[in-house]
Symmetry: C2
Subunit: 145 residues, 2 copies
């Protein structure tokens, strides 16, 4: 995120105050956040930006591969800046929302093999993992409050 200059051909990326703000807020929120959440945070910080612009900016970032997208159970889209080394999967805590990247190398390989074994091509995958993290476990470490 912080090192990948955003420059595309299709719709030219024009640097604006609003887009800079979205990028900053996205970077500050380490975890997955919703467009609404992002907009609220920006507004609270005194930034002047429309919700529409947040949505549009996130859509561009999604298309250009600068954010990973995950879906809430409700269908709400959640965004998280993508690490420089590319594609990742995350394990998200259903209690506190914390997310941590997981090493899904074996799954990636398994998906690649699918092309050969199924006759399907251009296979895309979405793997969403949720659980209860250690600190949030009732019997585990100190429970939240």
């Amino acid at each position: 995120m912080e090192d990948a200059p955003i420059k595309e051909h299709r719709p030219s990326w024009r640097a604006t105050r609003q887009r800079a703000a979205v990028l900053r807020a996205l970077r500050e929120a380490a975890n997955f956040v919703s467009a609404t959440h992002l907009h609220a945070a920006l507004t609270a910080d005194g930034a002047s930006i429309g919700l529409t612009t947040v949505y549009r900016t996130l859509r561009v970032l999604e298309r250009t591969g600068h954010v990973d997208v995950m879906r809430e159970r409700t269908g709400e889209r959640l965004y998280r800046p993508r690490p420089a080394d590319g594609h990742r999967h995350y394990l998200v805590c259903r209690r506190c929302g914390d997310s941590s990247p997981v090493d899904a190398e074996s799954v990636e390989r398994w998906v690649e093999d699918l092309t050969a074994s199924t006759g399907f091509s251009a296979i895309e995958h979405a793997l969403e993992l949720t659980g209860i993290c250690g600190p949030c476990l009732p019997g585990g470490k100190p429970p939240p409050v």
Copy 2:
């Protein structure tokens, strides 16, 4: 689907004309279908049923594990009767919508191991696979019309 009697304790399942119709339509549609689609098919078949009832029935079937749910890119929920042998993952063609179950045993095991290696518990996973199936491939078998 055809062999698992639907009987739950929490809200008792009461057999009605509408629910029977949903189950029938769901069985007839081999692939993933949306609630709207299902409702349209039912209405076209002359069945009298409200869209609300379709949604409510599908929700019950989802809770009782009788259908698998997948999300469209748009966020729309798609339902498919679950095979008797339980949990499955599917590879769906982005062109024609056909879906075929895949053997994801290795992924299942990988997910199980996650509990030990991450400290997360009660891990749930959603794996969604899409691609272009053989018959739909431009250069492959006869393209669709």
